[in-house]
């Protein structure tokens, strides 16, 4: 038997972005949540509770802080950080737990891949759904921020697209990471990455509290990039570094998407 090179089915770099079939997977997820809308709605409350407890509670003790050259109340300082972390959490939940259930437990994707949909459609569809869900939460949170007077400049209108970008980055990474997981226990590693990042990525206080070397480490984390982007836009403290943050997040999301489609093809279409 002559050895021929096996061409991987349906994965080309160009096909990864731009199949209309991915919409069908989003449609499926809408069907699922139509019957469990309460789970969907519960996602609105988490960042709101954080804002009340940490923001409002600590506001009196901490006083004002700088964003760029601007001095702002502590709650207004924390709010964009919470916006960024809620965009992250919203995207990660679907991209990790729900994706794992569909991939390994319910074998949902096995069935889907026997239809015209391919692994890139599944990856893109799941990512799109995570974005829709995450952006809905972010949108509502921005409205709440505006109502409480934490929106500091007209540039804050860009906070929502920025939240979508943050969701894209974390959904991409989450999907890619999930495609390597074998058991539910592996999700402890996700928590191990997320919780310290949430607590230490300058979400609640400025980066300047850290010594120089630690600042470099924190700067490298995706959540720091996300928080800095939202905070800068909210306060209208525009600088070239905001473009850098956005680029970092976009590259992260794209890389996650490519890895996810390849992994799905490997796992599901051997």
């Amino acid at each position: 038997m002559t050895a021929t090179v096996t061409t991987p089915l349906r994965i080309t770099p160009l096909s990864i972005l731009g199949s209309r079939r991915a919409l069908r997977l989003i449609e499926r997820n809408i069907y699922v949540y139509r019957r469990s809308w309460i789970i969907f709605v519960s996602g609105f409350f988490e960042p709101f509770f954080y804002l009340l407890s940490i923001g409002v509670g600590l506001n009196k003790l901490v006083g004002a802080l700088h964003i760029g050259n601007r001095l702002v109340a502590y709650t207004a300082y924390v709010a964009p950080g919470l916006l960024a972390s809620s965009a992250m959490n919203g995207a990660l939940f679907d991209a990790t737990f729900n994706m794992f259930f569909r991939l390994k437990i319910a074998k949902t994707y096995d069935a889907i891949l026997s239809t015209p949909l391919g692994p890139n459609d599944v990856a893109l569809g799941e990512l799109g759904w995570s974005l829709i869900r995450g952006s809905t939460y972010s949108g509502v949170f921005i409205v709440v921020m505006a109502l409480f007077g934490y929106v500091l400049s007209p540039w804050a209108i860009l906070c929502l697209p920025a939240a979508v970008l943050i969701g894209f980055a974390f959904a991409g990474v989450g999907l890619a990471a999930t495609s390597f997981m074998r058991t539910w226990q592996d999700f402890d590693k996700v928590s191990l990455a997320i919780i310290p990042m949430f607590l230490f990525s300058a979400t609640f206080y400025p980066l300047s509290v850290y010594p120089g070397w630690l600042q470099l480490v924190v700067r490298a984390t995706p959540l720091y990039q996300a928080v800095a982007l939202e905070r800068g836009l909210d306060a209208g403290a525009l600088s070239a570094s905001l473009v850098g943050h956005a680029a970092y997040l976009a590259v992260l999301g794209l890389a996650g998407l490519v890895v996810t489609s390849r992994r799905l093809a490997r796992l599901l279409l051997p």
């Binding site: 038997m1 002559t2 050895a3 021929t4 096996t6 061409t7 991987p8 089915l9 349906r10 079939r21 069908r24 449609e27 499926r28 069907y31 699922v32 019957r35 569909r102 319910a106 074998k107 949902t108 096995d110 069935a111 889907i112 891949l113 026997s114 239809t115 015209p116 949909l117 391919g118 599901l268 279409l269 051997p270």
Partner: protein
């Protein structure tokens, strides 16, 4: 539908008219060093029902997954509906239905939503899917469970729903991987009946199974697979004629070891098989052979003359050793 009708129809001449729906030549599937399918050739005609029969690990599922464009071909050529699975996977998959070995129903959706959502993967209009879903639920007798969650269904119901799901896109070719494994006899017969009706409507069926009765019931033509190759191919009746005799005489000797009397039985029939608990004599006239056994003065504790079955062919071709 009486299942015996289905059985009678297996003797029909295979429909060979028109261009074949599936053509494979020198088809190979490798997983690293392991060769799952080792160069097989076959051709499945439109409207035909074709079965892959074989022990576990014979390469049946690998072959089916390649036909379903869910597994890249390692070597050789495969054409499904006249197209190349490597290039036209989505187009081919839009015209075939798949019933996988394991149930892969969408556990997050209801019975009806499983059909509605699945139809959307094929880009069908919602109105069309809704009409078909109602018909199909009726066809598989699940109309009353339409609003229930999938988890609450029994094994047989899940299987029926999976078949209904595979039909939502009105496929020309239906691929069924061990459709009745793990079901009770009632559920199996109901499924066979539904599959027989589909066949009558002109749907081409490709089935894997390791149940001989299922193969005899459902398949006009069979490939017996063993270790990645075809051990034999043909209509069930022809396979029996070619690889077995018309009848089989089974002799049990109670306390006496079969091996002890085996020598005396040498040459009585076309083929003799000595098993730990009995001796099988393959003969075209079982009663005559049994008469000769008695004339030799042998007194088996029990005797059975039966028609040769596909199981005899299967065990002859693939051996009695357990493959794991």
């Amino acid at each position: 539908m009486d299942p015996s009708d289905a059985f009678g129809a297996t003797s029909r001449v295979p429909a060979a008219d028109g261009e074949p729906l599936v053509v494979a030549s020198g088809l190979v599937k490798r997983f690293g060093e392991f060769v799952a399918v080792d160069g097989v050739d076959f051709s499945i005609g439109r409207g035909e029902s074709y079965g892959f029969l074989g022990p576990n690990g014979a390469g049946k599922t690998s072959t089916m997954r390649m036909i379903a464009c869910m597994s890249p071909v390692s070597a050789g050529t495969l054409r499904v509906l006249g197209r190349d699975p490597d290039r036209d996977g989505p187009e081919i998959r839009s015209r075939i239905g798949v019933v996988p070995q394991e149930d892969t129903l969408d556990l997050e959706l209801t019975v009806l939503d499983n059909l509605l959502v699945y139809g959307r993967y094929f880009d069908l209009p919602r109105r069309v899917i809704r009409e078909r879903a109602e018909e199909l639920l009726d066809f598989v007798q699940l109309t009353e469970r339409a609003r229930d969650r999938v988890e609450s269904l029994s094994g047989g119901m899940k299987r029926r729903l999976t078949i209904a799901r595979s039909l939502v896109s009105d496929p020309e070719l239906l691929i069924l991987d061990e459709p009745t494994t793990g079901l009770d006899p009632q559920a199996r017969h109901l499924l066979w009946d539904r599959l027989y009706r589909l066949r009558r409507r002109g749907v081409t069926l490709v089935i894997t199974t390791h149940y001989m009765d299922e193969a005899e019931q459902l398949c006009e033509r069979l490939a017996v697979m063993d270790r990645g190759r075809f051990a034999a191919e043909g209509a069930p009746r022809d396979l029996i004629a070619k690889y077995s005799t018309r009848e089989v005489v089974e002799l049990r000797f109670g306390a006496t070891e079969p091996a002890g009397v085996a020598a005396a039985l040498e040459g009585l029939a076309q083929r003799r098989e000595v098993l730990p608990d009995r001796v099988l004599l393959y003969s075209d006239d079982g009663d005559a052979t049994l008469g000769e056994v008695h004339r030799l003065g042998l007194t088996p504790e029990s005797t059975l003359v039966r028609r040769s079955s596909l199981e005899d062919v299967f065990l002859h071709l693939t051996g009695r050793t357990l493959v794991e």
